[in-house]
Symmetry: C2
Subunit: 366 residues, 2 copies
């Protein structure tokens, strides 16, 4: 069985495109300007991926770390050249308040810690970047939004696909009417999860199972592919492995959305199937398919007009350069990545869990 | 807007493979033997397609017609060389009883006539081949099964995909365990229906809307792709055009199945989207995709092992040659096409309509 990382890297290795010489060496005007000084909280495998990606950024830079594991801090210090004074534990992390070397903290902890630490970071007066899912539920998400508003700091959610070129091209085509009226979205998001002891399979840390971790891609994808928020949700949960997937940890959920326009969506979230990462948008006049749609490697796909083949750039590098501009230049991204956007997804996920539990359609208002 | 026929021919024209010289000119041993003498009841566009396909059959032959339109009978007589004595109206069709030139009647009428005429044909002692959906509901289907049993004639449903080479290759692979345990099926079946006055959009004649006509492909496909019958059904109906899709005529239905094995299925049936004809089977060890999966032209697709590219033969020609062997030689087909098979699909469709109406999961037993 593959690990989560191996899964998400799968297409990267298999389908890597030849580098387009010089493509990343021509910074746009927007990539010139002040640099966002970022501390990473949570030094796990995804934190490392973001740290590596930050090395390639023009507008963002890794300057600090917050971790409960001293040995990890040492390793990161030597690997990324982080000053001793910018290293924090969870106990003293409130002291970032007085550190001019840290503008923002990227929270990459287990899901359950997003809410308390986002609020603490906000209260320390630093901008918050929070990995998805932004919280365990909509209530927590709303509290995070309010805390950041009150502290007058920005809250951004780690929606890296919102900055990916092929994804943005589909969104551009949809906005330009090239698909005609959007009618149907299908999202398949899943992988076969390995180690049963990991935090992602622990209800208290993950807040759920596949839906929180990978299903959220289809939840979010339905919205940016169709350009609309759902007005109703239905969902059906299936569990086959009660050892691995304990009470409150979902293995497989099918979920459906209806939209005010009449469009519908049909999605799958699973921890029991290999490499499911497909988006399909069908409109009155055309279609788009993305596969892989959300993996870390090159996003590939086609529309009724032909192949989508915009060059791959490490997603997290683009994300962090763009987030720096959102924070420092007040840039408005093509697809929102703010707390309100994350809150919508959490409301939908709450509704999916409720619909799966009750067997009833859940209506939504935003 | 395309007509139904144009839709189903779409891929035929666009993707026709070069003929493999000689491929259809080598009859297998099973294609040598007595010939099934077939009368067609209902001389519409699909009846014409079957008549044309019968010209290429080795084991089946068009010998008679039953129609309410004298001018159509004349046209067919001259086009297919049908003897005057083998031509019937609906009023005198019971007289086929005494006609040795007719072994079986292929009923290709509007759906509502399948039940009464299947019973009449059975009572006349002739084998019944009935186009899908076999009836308006499971009750009617059961009555047809019983009537044919009582009359000691065979009842076959027009499941042409059950004889299609690429489809059978996927089923063979699944039975051989090449996909591992089947986990997920997805079926998208739809097209944009044209003329609002046609019988397919008339509740009394069609018995429903897209589900009866095109959704049934995903219903049936879920079963032969996964090799299992569903134990529960959920469904969500969406209607945007209340003029075209009157009361009882479904425009779009999303439906989901659960299976005793833990596999799940997620399907779409629609009369409002262009050319949706995709099947996807995902197993523990591999996958199969068919697109188009059920159109009249070449079926195309791929598995984890590569492209599926078995040569295209006119589906209805293969179907009728195979059905002749089922009737005359008691051949057992790889995937059943008998009344019991059709009855299962009607039970499922009844459950889909009930689930869509009540918003509740419907459990199924076969």
């Amino acid at each position: 069985m593959k690990s989560r990382r191996q899964f998400l890297q799968h297409f990267s290795a298999a389908l890597a495109l030849p580098a387009l010489a010089g493509w990343t060496n021509k910074p746009e005007a927007s990539l010139q300007g002040p640099v966002l000084k970022v501390a990473i909280m949570g030094l796990g495998s995804y934190g490392t991926r973001v740290a590596d990606a930050l090395v390639g950024c023009k507008r963002a830079k890794l300057t600090g770390v917050i971790s409960g594991t001293p040995s990890k801090i040492k390793t990161w210090q030597s690997k990324y050249g982080i000053a001793e004074k910018n290293c924090y534990t969870y106990d003293n992390s409130d002291q970032i308040k007085n550190n001019p070397d840290i503008d923002a903290v990227y929270i990459i902890t287990p899901n359950a810690l997003h809410h308390p630490y986002a609020i603490r970071v906000a209260q320390a007066g630093k901008h918050v970047i929070c990995e998805k899912p932004m919280a365990l539920n909509a209530m927590e998400a709303l509290e995070m939004v309010n805390a950041c508003k009150k502290a007058n700091v920005k809250l951004l959610i780690g929606y890296r696909m919102h900055f990916e070129a092929n994804t943005l091209e589909v969104v551009r085509m949809r906005k330009a009417g090239e698909f005609g009226k959007p009618l149907f979205f299908q999202g398949l998001s899943g992988f076969r999860i390995g180690d049963p002891g990991q935090w992602r399979l622990t209800k208290n840390l993950a807040g759920g199972g596949a839906m929180m971790d990978i299903g959220v891609y289809s939840v979010n994808g339905a919205r940016y592919m169709l350009g609309e928020d759902p007005v109703w949700v239905t969902a059906q949960e299936t569990k086959t492995d009660f050892q691995k997937f304990k009470e409150g940890v979902d293995e497989t959920i099918q979920f459906q959305f209806g939209f005010a326009s009449g469009a519908v969506a049909s999605c799958l979230s699973t921890y029991s199937m290999n490499n499911l990462d497909k988006f399909f948008l069908n409109g009155e006049k055309g279609f788009a398919e993305l596969q892989p749609a959300t993996g870390y490697g090159p996003i590939q796909g086609r529309t009724h007009r032909g192949a989508l083949a915009l060059p791959h750039v490490t997603h997290q590098t683009t994300q962090m350069d763009e987030m720096a501009q959102i924070i420092l230049d007040n840039k408005v991204p093509e697809i929102p990545v703010d707390g309100a956007e994350g809150l919508k997804d959490m409301k939908i996920i709450d509704a999916i869990y409720l619909a799966a539990k009750t067997g009833k359609r859940v209506d939504l208002k935003f």
